[in-house]
Amino acid sequence: MKRLFRTSYVKAGLTFIIALILLMVLRNPYYVGILIFLGINIIITIGLSLLMGYAGQISLGQAAFYGIGAYTTGILTTKLHVPIILSFPMSVLLTVFIAFIVGIPTLRLRGHYLAMATLGLGEIVHIVFNELISLTGGPSGFGNIPLIRIFGIELDNDYKYYVFVWAIVALIIFLSLNIINSRIGRALKAIHKEPTTASTLGINTSRVKLYIFTLGAGYAGIAGFLYAHYITFLSPGSFSLGFSVLLVTMVAVGGMENIWGAIIGTTVLTILPEYLRFFHDFDILIYGVILMAIMMLRPEGLYGIKIPLKRIRTND
């Protein structure tokens, strides 16, 4: 039984079931909307956590890939009337392709240099969204992006979209857990611990890093696709440098060690602002305080903080 729970099928399946139970419990459409965003954010941060925790690299440009995915499908479906079934692979492939081309020179860099290169890249993409007015509508954006229709069902309300998004989240978790336990995953762990040893053992370090960087970008592209067809309106503000930094914050707060840390961090930082409506404009200050506190007191993140459940049970 215990072994069964360790398999990626069951973990991904359980995530989906928990999401469905949550949907039954929360009949408030407002909360459902928030949890859709949570699912979209989790897809991006899982990719980022593979890059940060497993490959030991940092990307401060993840919002750019998210934006490329969203804008590609938005422009294809509204301006060129491409059906969604085609715009999905096209937007994800374009994101992956751009990440691959950019990743080749970028991933030769390490640490601070990589962080700054991805930051610069994200900012350039953001400027292009703002300036390429004929395609992107510039700072005011564009709307009327069609809704998704699968198997003849149009995802026209939040409940249907919620199920769709969380099914994809479960798929992404399944895929990521298998990648971690594959040859590439083990290679990544080796690179993270001892890059020199890893390369002497015949691991092509830069190629493995490139794979994982492109994979993370692909996840962000999928998230961008989901975002575009949910909100049906895009403007550059959603893909700014601030969002890239927030994504890194989510992963760091939850814990970079594994993807569950990313999921916890994303959940905390997506739900928390809703309870802090009172401070609505000062969320950025609160993010700063949380991030600083976590990095100083518990740099490994929230994941794995031991709640003394056992002690309570033995006292009974």
Partner: protein, 297 residues
């Protein structure tokens, strides 16, 4: 206006903005030299300098000179506090932790500034009037001359400090080899503290003197920091004269592209240069090929 005068005009404004980039880059270099850390909050030090100067001048009605001085002092204190109570308390931090913690500092400064001063942009009066000076048909603001003057002053003072004072030499020793510096009796921790103080000080000065031209706004730090880092990389990380030259080159390119191509893409110019340098010559354009081969980036 003929094209020659127009070009001269772009050149003058490019040099002005380039001087600010150079100052931010010098701030990056000082901390990098003594610790190997890239301080992602460097741009926010500049923002903080401008904001506090405005606060002293407009709200507390201090004279301009005193406002500027107190603002610079406050930024320096923030830099010292950040080093003493955050950076120094970390035990064996990884590069990712260091990156994230300076990002956290940047978010905190930005959020704090928004908390205190809101989302408005503020302006300081120019130090010596707003009457533009003519120069071969083009004009230059007196404030630009102040900026150039301060850059010159900072560069000369730093060169003197690192070359002639014992503390400056000790800091340089830490930059070359921390362990050896410790063995000869240099208090490395104190030098690191000093480098943060110095870097925040220069950031503060940059913030105060640029506010009469570009205004102060809580969200100005990140892009300025990014461009300043681009400048530092372009000139070779840790290389002070390189930073000045690179700042002026980037300022000029940005100003020409804003004037001749499109103003929307002017911010992209500095960033594309940053990426190109990172990809092809990560040691900077002034670094030697052989030297670069020995470093890891």
């Amino acid at each position: 206006m003929n094209i020659g005068i127009q070009l001269l005009q772009y050149t003058l404004s490019g040099i002005t903005i380039g001087s600010i980039y150079a100052m931010v880059a010098i701030g990056f270099n000082i901390i990098y030299n003594s610790t190997g850390i890239i301080n992602f909050a460097q741009g926010d030090f500049v923002m903080l300098g401008g904001m506090t100067a405005v606060y002293f001048y407009k709200t507390l009605h201090l004279p301009l000179l005193l406002s500027g001085l107190s603002a610079v002092l406050i930024v320096m204190c923030v830099g010292i506090l950040f080093e003493r109570f955050v950076i120094q308390t970390l035990k064996n931090p990884s590069v990712i932790t260091l990156i994230i913690i300076t990002i956290a500092a940047s978010i905190l400064l930005k959020g704090g500034a928004m908390f205190i001063w809101g989302k408005d942009a503020y302006i300081l009066p120019s130090f010596s009037g707003d009457k533009p000076l003519g120069l071969f048909g083009a004009t230059i603001l007196p404030q630009s001359l102040w900026i150039l003057g301060f850059l010159f002053l900072i560069v000369v003072a730093l060169a003197g400090f690192f070359r002639f004072s014992i503390v400056g030499k000790a800091m340089k020793a830490c930059a070359f080899n921390r362990r050896a510096a410790r063995i000869v009796g240099i208090n490395v921790n104190r030098m690191v503290l000093l480098s943060f103080a110095l870097s925040a000080l220069i950031g503060g000065i940059a913030g105060v003197i640029v506010t009469p031209i570009t205004l102060a706004h809580y969200d100005r730090g990140s892009l300025l920091g990014l461009k300043g880092f681009g400048t530092a990389i372009f000139g070779g990380l840790g290389n002070m004269p390189g930073a000045v030259a690179a700042g002026i080159i980037i300022g000029l390119l940005e100003s020409y592209s804003a004037g001749l191509l499109s103003s929307g893409y002017k911010d992209a110019v500095a960033l594309i240069i940053l990426l190109a340098v990172l990809f092809f010559r990560p040691g900077g354009i002034f670094g030697k090929k052989e030297e670069q081969a020995l470093k890891t980036f």
